[in-house]
Amino acid sequence: MDSAYRKRLIAIWIGIAAVYLAVLLLDMTLRPTSMLLTVLKKGAIYSLVAVSMNLLNGFTGLFSLGQAGFMLIGAYTYAILTMPGDVKTSESVYKYYECFITFDTGVFIGLVAAGLMAALFAFLIGWPVLRLKSDYLAIATLGFAEIIRAIFQWDVLGPVTNGANLLRSYIDLTRVTLPFTDIPFPPTLFVFMVSGICILIIVLLINSSYGRAFKAIRDDETAAEAMGINLFRSKELSFVISSFFAGISGALLAMFQYTVQAQQFKSMMTYEILLIVVIGGIGSISGSCIASFLYITLSEWWLRGLDMGTFLGISAPSLFRSGFRKLVFSVIIMVIVLFFSRGIMGDKELSIPRMRAAFARAAKRMRKEAAG
């Protein structure tokens, strides 16, 4: 380890610490309902699921579209486990069913269990599905995600999942407390911490020997196999780990939303995540994070006016009606896919030397333009 590398590592950690400090400050000062905090929370949640999808699609080269299904499993597992026992036995949530699971757990166990449950499902689904390649794999995983959604709404499973009705009263973001105290945990910081730790683990995985094996499979399956990498086992590992983190992000989404219902985890959600991955750059962790904050900010905040009648000060209620935002968004997506098909970051990571080089290039161009 040379000193330049160490210096850069320290700089990165300082940068991350600064971001977390800023989040904490915002959390303390802004109103909890402020748009900025909402966007930050949802952005962090989507970062995690986008990075987990990138692990699969970008680093292992498996085109899988099952993310929403695994998020659903995570969200439900978390909601059912952390819902207080007396709520479950009373009729406020489980109106039509006798609740089967009567115990309740804390947030940490709930989150881990959410991940593990999603990973377990992925393990079982991966057995048949991962023998498929490219588009076939995408269709199969998409199908499984839909099946999972249908199963969770199934009447027979009502005592566990509350059928098609929504779940609420579990431990959401406002009710998370610091361990062993009653002091509320700053909600945005909580989301950032959980997502941050999970993304850190994924980054560590990608830079380990296993990560290299994944990349080898993406580059050339035949060569990877000839170098002694077991294709099926590596793919299964990548799939299970990716789903584990998708499950955790599902749980975070449930915490963020206060209520959760199987209906919302449609394939549309997977496409949203895929879009983030593509915009950020397939094979770039930092790209996925940047793109998810960008996407959430646009769709939840800046382009909201397109649905509400007034956008950029222009009031045109007959044009800016509900649904117009989606239309504009589609156009933006088309432009990105046509002209920036490698995404914001390509397969590179955000780094200080690279940023410096990009700034230098931009400055040079500007100087040239000013001169010419």
Partner: protein, 281 residues
């Protein structure tokens, strides 16, 4: 004493095409054996049978006396096949190892059309191949519990690159190397899996006479240094005749000759099928 690698009546059939027909051969410890023949003779298919890419239609492959692949009695191909020794192996247990298991046993290979990991540097290409011999699991790898092993892998990679004269290209994209160096890198990557038997599929393809001459010295050198046995497919007769201990000749999937380089050069069938007559004779 068992042979290092032994093929017994190996046949590989694709529908009506018999790519390899009743091929038997053996490689002894420390030998350099070449497989030659005209294009489409089934040389690479034979390679793919050994490395587990294909499942032979008939016959048996043994590595150090241990069966690593036999034919597939319930396979579709079996029923079509009616050739020599047709039912010899029909009652055997199915063994169908995947290529990674073969590599684990100690048989590494290179490819006819170079297959390096495109997105990786020279260094990472070799480092990736070290994964096979690593003892860490996913958890210890992620949480850097096995950092000592990782460090050892990195040191081994650097040593290997230095030994193979590739160290100056360490951080370049593997695919940006000159052609000859890419072939070298592919061999280095195969060596990183710690093989005992190295299969080279046309290592001199696309090389000029000078590079070919260097290659023959290089193959001898790695054979001694890593105590390997080498089995190679090659079209450059200078190279083959120079370094091989024994040569097998395939023509239209069938073995037509076996012997030392001198014997092969005199063999009339080989001359007719493949070598031809030199113009200045």
């Amino acid at each position: 004493m068992n042979s290092m690698l032994e093929l017994r009546n190996v046949t590989m059939q694709f529908g009506g095409v018999v790519a390899v027909n009743d091929f038997s051969m053996h490689i002894e410890e420390g030998e350099i054996v070449a497989l030659i023949g005209p294009n489409g003779a089934g040389k690479t298919t034979a390679f793919n049978c050994i490395t587990g890419v294909y499942e032979p239609t008939n016959g048996e492959i043994l590595y150090r006396g241990r069966t690593i692949a036999v034919n597939h009695p319930r396979g579709r191909m079996k029923r079509i096949y009616g050739g020599l020794h047709g039912d010899m192996y029909a009652s055997r247990r199915v063994l169908n190892p995947t290529p990674d298991e073969i590599t684990r046993l100690g048989i590494a290979r290179t490819f006819q059309n170079i297959r390096l990991f495109r997105s990786m540097t020279v260094y990472e290409n070799v480092l990736t191949a070290m994964h096979l011999r690593a003892r860490q699991n996913a958890l210890s790898a992620v949480f850097r519990i096995s950092w000592k092993e990782e460090q050892r892998m990195r040191e081994d990679t650097e040593r290997l690159l230095k030994e193979q004269d590739l160290y100056q290209y360490r951080d370049e994209k593997a695919t940006s190397l000159p052609y000859g160096k890419q072939r070298r890198l592919e061999i280095a990557r195969a060596l990183a899996t710690e093989p005992e038997l190295l299969l080279l599929d046309e290592p001199a393809a696309g090389m000029n006479p000078q590079e070919t001459k260097e290659l023959s010295a290089f193959i001898r050198e790695i054979k001694e240094r890593y105590s390997l046995s080498v089995f190679m497919i090659e079209h450059h007769m200078d190279l083959v005749m120079d370094i091989s201990d024994r040569i097998y000749v395939l023509d239209f999937g069938s073995p037509i000759a076996e012997g030392s380089p001198a014997e092969i050069q005199r063999n009339q069938r080989v001359i007719d099928a493949y070598l031809g007559v030199s113009e200045d004779v």
